[in-house]
Structure formats: structure tokens, C-alpha cells
């Protein structure tokens, strides 16, 4: 018991709630709203998975919501975003609606990609969301290319290219970092370091445990960020984006976070301890921001509860929407393999 208390103390010391509000009430409520939406969405995703409404590989974002929250404010809507397969939260933060995301998980024709992608592949051109990539690290060169196109056109937009700590060991990262720095491509690389590549800890995959240091081999400005705090994520993104938009090229942020659940729904997480998990739950970004709003008299419990009720209803409605939607016709499998409409598929 004494040990637990000691640990709690240590945690509190590590992440003290900032007393004074730096941002507007609306900003805090917006951060809370997106984090709570993602949390609820993912809880219901796990529930629907247990009921076999959702199938296939499914990786939830619970614990990492503060990063998605920072993304809503630290960059612009015109900026592009691409990430890996733990992507429901990122898609929601870009503005994809709960209905189309939940319907996609259910494999329905009303899903954001008409049942073609499932859990790992949401996309939306309207929201500048380039997916949902299922091959570890493959989106790193792709995000670099998306940003290359922005530079080519002379826009001020950047591409946020997100990946996990496992992907940081892929060769694609080193090739991309090298070209992005050489050509000063407007790309913001974010590694969401949730400490485990499936079941393999960061410490077991390399001699370099602080991932932001990888950037130094390319003289890329790189720094670690507290990923349990949307304010810290927001500020790091703003600073990095400013640097990138000034034409100085890429920036690399290691956002330290933690996933509460297993790698995927089928992972019992035997490779880590309950204590470790509980330590992070003490820093839960949603709890922290609620406490901050209440303690700092930024918002009332009533206001927060009202948002919660609205989102609870929204996610319930999304599940109903997904459930009642139709599956795509089997024949729609042939749609969108080629832009060419009369492509002669081999059918026998």
C-alpha cells in the first residue's frame, strides 16, 4: 500500500496539473469533447467487437486521445494527415463523423469508405485525411510524398505523418527522413510512442530508446512531448508547424503516450504489468483535463456532463446507424480497383 501511494505521489509530481488556464474555455471544452468522443467511440467499438458486429483486425486508441486532441488545434484543416492502423481517433479528430466511422467498422455501405477499408483504413478527401495504412511504416514515405506535393504546388500546408514506435525501426523511416531533410519537405513526423510494438517494448528493439534522437542523424529538429496532455501536444505541434511553414523543412516529435488496451482486440497484454498500466491511468488525459477545468473554474461539472450526455447519445446513435445500414453488394467489390470504368477484369 505504501508503495502504491509512493508511486502515486511520484506520478503526481511528474505531471502536475497546471493551475492557471492558458487557453480559452472553448479550447478546453473542444479538447475534452474530442477526447471523450474518441474514448466513448472506442469503448463501444470493443463492445461491438465482442458482439461480433465488428470483425477483422481492430486496434483501439484508448489512452492516446490527447494526441488527437492536440491535432485539432495545433495544425489547420487544410493540413494533411496520414497515419497507421490505430487510426479511429485520428480520423475522428480530423472531423470524420461517428456515424460513418462506426458504419465502416461494421463493414456497411454507409461507412466512410463504403465497407472497403474496415478498422485499419478510413479515408476522407474532404477532411484531408489520407488514411489508415496497414503496413507498419509504409505511410512514412507516403506522408513525405503528400507533403512533397504541397511544396511542389507552393502551398503553405504541411503533412502530419504519424506512426508508432514499432515503425520507427523500419528502413522506410530512415529513407524518408533523409530525403525530407535534403529537400526541406514540409512534413511533421510524429511518433506516437506507446512503448510497445505489439508485444515488444521499445527497449528490446534498439539501443536507442529515446526515439526523438533518431532525428539528430539527419540534423532534423526533434523533441519529446508529453502525450498525456493536450496542451503540451498542441504547443509542440504549433511550434513545429511554424518552423515547417517558414520553409525550414521537417520536424520530428516523439509524443510519449500509452495504450490502455492490448495491441489489438486479441492481445491480452501479458508483456506488461498492471502497475505500469495503472501508473498511466493516473495521468489519464480526460481525467486530467476535467480536473483542470473544474479546479481552475474554467467550466462547470454541469457543462461537462452535458457534453458527455450528448456524446454518449451520439455514439449510441452511431451504433444504431451502423447496425441498421446495409452491407455493400458483393458486386461492389469490383468498384474502385481502377479509375478506368470499363476495366476488363478476369472473371473466369
Amino acid at each position: 500500500m505504501a508503495e502504491v501511494l509512493e508511486k502515486k505521489k511520484k506520478v503526481t509530481k511528474k505531471a502536475p496539473a497546471k493551475a492557471k488556464a492558458k487557453y480559452s474555455k472553448k479550447q478546453y471544452l473542444d479538447w475534452f469533447t474530442i477526447m471523450y468522443r474518441i474514448r466513448k467511440f472506442e469503448e463501444k467499438t470493443l463492445y461491438a467487437y465482442s458482439k461480433q458486429k465488428i470483425r477483422g483486425f481492430c486496434h483501439v486508441y484508448i489512452g492516446q486521445e490527447a494526441i488527437a486532441a492536440g491535432l485539432t488545434s495545433g495544425i489547420t484543416k487544410d493540413d494533411k494527415v496520414v497515419t497507421a492502423y490505430r487510426q479511429h481517433g485520428i480520423a475522428l479528430s480530423r472531423g470524420l463523423d461517428s456515424n460513418s466511422c462506426m458504419a465502416e467498422l461494421y463493414g456497411k455501405s454507409t461507412g466512410c469508405v463504403k465497407g472497403k477499408g474496415g478498422s485499419m483504413h478510413f479515408f476522407s478527401k474532404e477532411h484531408n485525411y489520407f488514411g489508415g495504412n496497414g503496413i507498419v511504416g509504409a505511410q512514412i514515405p507516403i506522408g513525405t510524398g503528400i507533403a512533397f506535393a504541397e511544396q511542389y504546388r507552393g502551398s503553405k500546408n504541411l503533412c502530419v505523418t504519424m506512426f508508432g514506435d514499432g515503425a520507427a525501426r523500419q528502413g522506410a523511416l530512415y529513407e524518408s527522413f533523409n530525403m525530407a531533410m535534403t529537400w526541406k519537405i514540409p512534413v511533421l513526423y510524429i511518433v506516437e510512442n506507446n512503448k510497445y510494438a505489439m508485444g515488444t517494448s521499445v527497449e528490446r528493439t534498439s539501443n536507442v530508446h529515446e526515439l526523438y534522437k533518431i532525428g539528430s542523424a539527419f540534423d532534423m529538429p526533434s523533441e519529446p512531448v508529453d502525450g498525456m496532455d493536450p496542451e503540451a501536444v498542441h504547443e509542440a505541434l504549433e511550434k513545429a508547424a511554424k518552423h515547417i511553414r517558414s520553409g525550414k523543412g521537417p520536424y520530428f516529435l516523439e509524443i510519449n503516450t500509452y495504450r490502455y488496451k492490448g495491441h489489438s482486440v486479441s492481445d491480452p497484454s501479458k508483456y506488461r504489468t498492471k502497475d505500469e498500466l495503472n501508473e498511466y491511468k493516473e495521468k489519464d488525459p480526460i481525467v486530467v483535463i476535467v480536473n483542470k477545468m473544474i479546479d481552475g473554474k474554467i467550466a462547470t461539472q454541469k457543462e461537462i456532463d452535458k457534453i458527455k450526455t450528448e456524446i454518449d447519445n451520439e455514439i449510441e446513435a452511431a451504433m444504431k446507424f451502423a447496425d441498421e445500414s446495409d452491407y455493400p453488394l458483393g458486386s461492389e467489390l469490383y468498384d474502385d480497383n481502377y479509375v478506368q470504368k470499363d476495366y476488363p477484369f478476369i472473371t473466369d
Binding site: K125, P141, G145, F148, E175, M179, W183, V339
Partner: protein, 326 residues
Amino acid sequence: MSRILNLRDALNEGMKEEMRRDESVFLMGEEVAEYNGAYKVSKGMLDEFGPKRVIDTPIAELGFAGIGVGAAMNGLRPIVEFMTWNFAVLAFDQIVNNAAKTLSQSAGEFGCPIVFRGPSGAAGQLAQQHSQTFESWMANVPGLKVISCIDPKDTKGLLKSAIRDDDPICFMESEQFYGYKGEVPEEEYLTPIGKAAIRREGTDVTIVSYNKMILVAMDAAEQLQKEGISAEVIDLRTIRPLDHEAIVESVKKTNRLVVVDESWPYGGVSSEIAYEIQKYAFDYLDAPVTRVNSADVSLGYAPTFVEEYLPNPTKVIRAVKAVMYR
């Protein structure tokens, strides 16, 4: 009006014309800019279009292929040159998992109008790793189109069509035949993707081939003519989608088919054609479909190995005589 151009210059003209026409087209790859191309296909392009649009990359096939895919998803039309398709193996994740699948997994939200191009096939005594063909590999993947041709006129027209096409395209040339000459019109033209060309009309046997093996097929056909055998030679030009109608029509006339295909025999272009013909021209066949492929081994260095490995006119003539029962 036309003039004689070699394959290298025809490809060069095709790229230049499309880059003049469309600002979103750019070229990237190893040695494409300052060196003017490892095989000089991009000669003069840096001078004309500048370093923004003709880009030397480091040796990082996976990385720059992926940058091409991302750029294509975001509205540009990249031409990604591989020094050879052998090196593109390092980039297959981006070609197969991303370029080919982006449209499907995004349900049409994002396309990938990109051309991956470079030489494919054996080119002398280059040994195991530098002698492979990739038409069969890439043609197996839905979402991709595959073009493989050496005729200067057609290749230029196909490259221009490929650059304008909204789907990802694997474009395969030939190291040994960049100097191969042919008549190329001076005026603008496009060659359609997915259509084969009859290079030689004949009545007794159909020989189907593509890329540089078309010359082996033509050589064999000329020799066979002297022996009174009239061979029709079809150049596929596009491997995916395959113009199987052209082959079926020809076989209905000749009743015999030999496929000359530099790729390995297992599950390759020749097997696909054999399947199509037994399915759609079964009643017209007077002999089993026969194929002449590269040997089912890795190619060794010695000249005797090259001779043993590749299809040649002698092997094709032997195959034709077998289907003629002569």
C-alpha cells in the same frame, strides 16, 4: 511525317511532351537529372525543366517510390524511374501494398496516377540479381496496369498514355534495346493501353510475345517462312489488361499458338495466355499451346548460361514445328 528514333529518345520525347503539357508531371529517380539518366533516357530534361521537376534521389527505392505514391495521392503525376526493375523489388511494398490498393481501400477517395518505369529483363552477362523480368509479378496485382514494349513508336505513345492514365502503371523497357531504332511520327499521337499489335500477318501459327522477345519471335518467323510456314506475330505491348481477344482471333485463324515469354514459366504471362486460349479457343486448337520461356532457374554469368537460359529463334522454331507436327 516521321523520322528514325531509338527507343531511348522516343521515351525521352514522350516524357518531355507530357511534362510540357501538364505541370503536375515530374520525374524522380537515381541519376535522372545531373547524370542525364543511367541509360540517358532523361537526357536534357534537367536543363529544360529544372531541379523542381527532374529530381535526383538518393539510392532509396522504397523511400522515393513511397514519396511518389504520396505525391500521386495528393494530386501530382509522378514518373518514378528505377535504374532497373531488379532494384524496384525494394519498393514493392509501395507499389503492391499502396499504389495498387489506394483507390480500393479508400473507396475511390484517393487515386494514384503514377508511372513506375525502367528496364526489365536480362541484358547480357549480368548474373542472377540483374537479369529478371517482372511483368508476371506485377501483372498478378489487381489495381496495377503493366506495359512492356520496345518498339520506339508504340513505346512513346504508350508512355504518353500511361502518364495521362489515372491508374498506377508499371512500365517496362529494355536495357539492351534503348538503342533500338524505329520510325516515330513527328506529330502528337497516343498508343492505347490494353491493345496488342500484329507485327506480322500469317496463317499457319500464332506466335505471341512482348518486349525484346518480339525480335526473337520475328527472327524465327522469317526463318520459318523460308521453310514454308507462315507465322503471325502478335506483340502484346500491354501485359495487364491483356488483349486476349487479339490472341483468340488470331488462333481462330491459325489454330496453333506458341508464346515466347522471357519471364519464368511458373504462373507467368505464358500460363495466363495458355489458360485464356484453352478456355476461349478450345475448339479451334489443332495442337497444345506451347511456350518458350526463360529457364526455370536463376541466370548465371557465363555466356553458355545466357544461351541456355533465354528464348532464342532456334528454340522458337523448334516449338513452332512441334505444334505443326513437323
